[in-house]
Symmetry: C2
Subunit: 214 residues, 2 copies
């Protein structure tokens, strides 16, 4: 993947920021709807009525739309944005979205609150969701200041169930060998580590100039 795989978009920065705010706010309400759909106990007749209204809103949003997935966009800065991303995309209601913070020393972390939509066993985060979030955090950690990178192998070890609610994720590079970057990460609840992961990430053999992406 090089910058040629991204979509060039030279919309002025202030318009991009305004769009991000509006789309992100809409997606937050869609996240709220996802949760409400899982937990609602109102009668079937009301659900059918709500569904009809919802379908009208979908039609409205689809009056003008991208022909396919959102992809990753970049401007000439080059700054890139991936609003559709399944883990960090502000416009993607599947994404919590995870907000990654880079700390001095190269450690990345994220604080996230996972609700009913991320459940696997009763009251616990789905193990696959834990793997998904770790994959993204670790990929970003590996690619920071190193350009685009792909996941080679990801190993996730489950120490105990991860409760729904407030969680902290952390990742750091442990070492590098040639094109391989090794990353270690954890998920913790307020009581301590629940999931550990190791990842091997691989830089492409030939790299073009490119914005960070994962």
């Amino acid at each position: 993947m090089t910058i040629d795989d991204f979509i060039q978009d030279d919309t002025p920065a202030d318009e991009v920021d305004r769009r991000a705010a509006v789309l992100g706010s809409l997606a937050d309400t869609v996240r709220d709807l996802v949760d409400a759909t899982i937990r609602t106990t109102v009668p079937n007749e009301q659900l059918l009525s709500a569904q009809a209204d919802l379908a009208d809103l979908v039609t409205l949003l689809r009056a003008n739309q991208l022909p396919g997935p959102a992809s990753i966009r970049h401007n000439s800065a080059p700054t890139s944005w991936s609003w559709g991303n399944a883990v960090i995309g502000l416009a993607n209601a599947i994404a919590p979205p995870l907000r990654l913070i880079r700390n001095p020393g190269g450690v990345f972390h994220a604080e996230v609150h996972l609700g009913a939509a991320y459940e696997g066993p009763p009251g616990l985060v789905h193990g696959g969701v834990s793997a998904m979030l770790l994959d993204h955090l670790m990929g970003e950690t590996a690619s920071a200041s190193r350009g685009t990178i792909f996941t080679g192998t990801l190993t996730t070890r489950y120490r105990r169930g991860t409760p729904l609610g407030p969680l902290r994720l952390e990742a750091r590079i442990t070492h590098e060998e040639g094109r391989k970057v090794f990353v270690a990460a954890t998920i913790s609840d307020p009581e301590g580590v629940t999931v550990e992961a190791d990842g091997v990430f691989i830089r492409p053999a030939s790299e073009a100039i490119q914005p960070e992406a994962h």
Copy 2:
């Protein structure tokens, strides 16, 4: 996790089936909305108006709701259902949902079509989404006819990018050692395998009588 962690629910079977149909259909429209929100290019003013209407629908659905996540419910059959599950939950718009099919010989498979909401790199399935779906399929494979089971370790190897679109997942038990069950799985696009995974699943030390769950 034993059956005591599930919620006893002796709603008559035909009512449960009717509710599943209505909730599943509503969630399908929410899935459509998630995709439309990612891809819409209609003006900001229309998005703000749509968001207000959407908030009203959320309020309607929340008029009566479960106090927390959906959990797993069971009746006295015992049959269990997990409509809120992040991977297979029919009421959860985050879930594609994956529909698992058990074949003679113990191989499980699933056919799924992943759209814009599951994107990572441009046009490709997010690596974390692949790990999430495999985790679930492998857990179900490990627990079939063996009762509740937990993921111990999951290792995912990415051979190449997985394109958005139609995909096939397959999993099978390779061997067992004491309480450990070893499972191998793949994701394939029409051209062949894109992701491989190995999992070690662990049966609880003491098992109560329980319906299958993961």
